[in-house]
Structures are given as C-alpha cells and as structure tokens.
C-alpha cells in the first residue's frame, strides 16, 4: 500500500511530498493510477468539495457519491452516535477496500471519509465517492466500498438515547450484503 500515508488527513507533510513522487513517474503511468483520498476525522465534510475534486478526474465520465447520515427513529429518541475506531488500522482497512474497488471496477478516483466521535441525529457520518469512465462501474464501485466498509473496517457505533448508552450490534444483513460480491 505505497500511497496510504499521503492520503490521510493527519499527515500533511507527506501530502506535500506527493507532487515530487508523482513527477518521477512516466506521464502515462501517472494517468492510469487511481487517485485516493481516505480520511478518518471528527470534522464534518463538504459533499460539494468532494464532488468537485472527483469531477476533475481526467478521463472520467461518471461520478457516484453516497453519504450516510446518523439515523433517528420515532421510538428511539436518539441523542447521539459515538464512533470509535482503531487508529492506523481503520485508515489502512479503508485504503485496502478502496484499492480493491479501484482494481475491480476500474475506478479513476476514490474518496472515503468516515467521521468519528460524537455525532448528532441527521449529521453526516460517512462519504464514499468514486469517479469512473462509465456509470455502471461507478455505481457498483461505490456500493462495493460501502458493503465492505460495513463489515471490514474497524469502526464501532455506540448509541446514546433516552434509555442510556448501548453498543450497536453487527447485523447479519450487512454480512450477507458484503458476501454477494464474493
């Protein structure tokens, strides 16, 4: 995973070195390499900014984005979701999922942003965006990433509601959804 560090938001120094590393690659190879932007952060994100970045990808004709929100339920009275992650491994796992999706669906660019910490109902929690030559691979690639993220990326949700706090249980339906890609 040679390009893992340069894409994480926490390492701006490495990001600054990116143009130098790329300049050493032949022009054509540079165009063929998918572009990754993988972030795990507490801060909110702008779908518009991510879309503009993806839409600027050379040779792409389709951009698909998905945003997951903190979902409340009338009977639940959700106060917040608390997201825990495994620093280092979460970023690596997301990068691996993105890389596999890029290879499998010939994606030109992949952005994955997952928020952590306390999030209120209706807040944005996750974003997956992909750029590809055609819509079929863009739709499939985005769905693949979400299905794998749900079952492979080390992230855990704790629900805070009127009754107190409880860890969210993993769902068998998420496992089934991921297994359909195998």
């Amino acid at each position: 995973m040679p390009d893992l560090e340069m894409t994480t938001a926490q390492q701006p120094e490495q990001k600054a070195q990116q143009p130098e590393q790329k300049a050493q690659q032949p022009e054509q190879q540079q165009q063929l390499q998918p572009k990754f932007d993988i972030r795990v952060q507490n801060a909110d994100f702008s779908l518009q900014d991510v879309y503009q970045q993806l839409a600027a990808t050379p040779y792409c004709g389709a951009v698909v984005t998905f945003v997951g929100l903190v979902r409340d339920h009338p009977e639940l009275q959700l106060q917040a979701l608390e997201l825990e992650h495994y620093p280092g491994m979460t970023e690596k796992a997301l990068q691996q999922i993105a890389t596999e999706a890029a290879q499998r669906f010939d994606l030109k660019a992949v952005t994955v942003i997952h928020r952590i910490g306390l999030l209120a109902p209706q807040q944005q929690i996750v974003l997956v965006g992909v750029a590809s030559a055609h819509r079929g691979s863009a739709f499939a690639g985005a769905e693949f990433i979400m299905d794998y993220l749900k079952t492979k990326a080390p992230l855990w949700k704790k629900q805070h509601d009127a009754k107190g706090a409880a860890w969210v249980e993993a769902k068998a339906s998420d496992q089934a959804q991921q297994q359909k890609w195998q």
Binding site: G68, L83, E84, H85, Y86, G88, M89, K92, A93, H114, I125, V126, M146, L149, K150, T151, K152, A153, P154, L155, W156, K157, K158, W167, V168, E169, A170, K171, D174
Partner: protein, 82 residues
C-alpha cells in the same frame, strides 16, 4: 513483549484499552487468547465470545497465525461502521 489492544464493547467490558504481555514467541494468536483468559474471570468470560475478531499488526487475521515479539494484536467485536 506483545502489545494487546481492545476496542468497542470489549474494551469497555474489560475496562482496558491496551496491555503488554510477555510470551514465548512465536506463538499462535489462539495461545495469546488463552493466556489472556487466565488473567481473571472477567477476561475469561469476555474473551470466550467466539464472534470476536482479531487483527495482527493492523490486519484482520485468524487465531492460527503466529505472533512474534514486538507485534501488535487487537481483539474487537464485529464492526458496525458506516
């Protein structure tokens, strides 16, 4: 020495996020688990859950893989991100 990490509901139940363990290496992750279960009744009970996932050096793994000195081993419940 091996570094052990716990996350999510398991971390909370054990009231422990990380610990260091001296073990004769190489040894399988299953042996690390075995040693951990002997720490206390709480550890024995919490680590008996066969739904638990494990990772060696930040890669998901099975309990048969071998751990070397200096490695990082993590145990956690099934993931619920997204």
């Amino acid at each position: 020495m091996i570094k052990i990490l716990f996350f999510g509901a398991l971390r909370e139940r054990l009231q422990c996020a990380s610990l260091q363990m001296a073990l004769n290496t190489p040894c399988a992750v299953s042996e690390v688990l075995q040693q951990l279960r002997q720490q206390s009744g709480l550890f024995a009970e919490a680590l008996a859950d066969n739904q638990l996932l494990c990772a060696l050096n930040q890669q998901l793994c099975g309990t048969e893989v071998l751990v070397q000195s200096g490695d990082e081993v993590a145990f956690f419940p099934p993931v619920t991100g997204g």
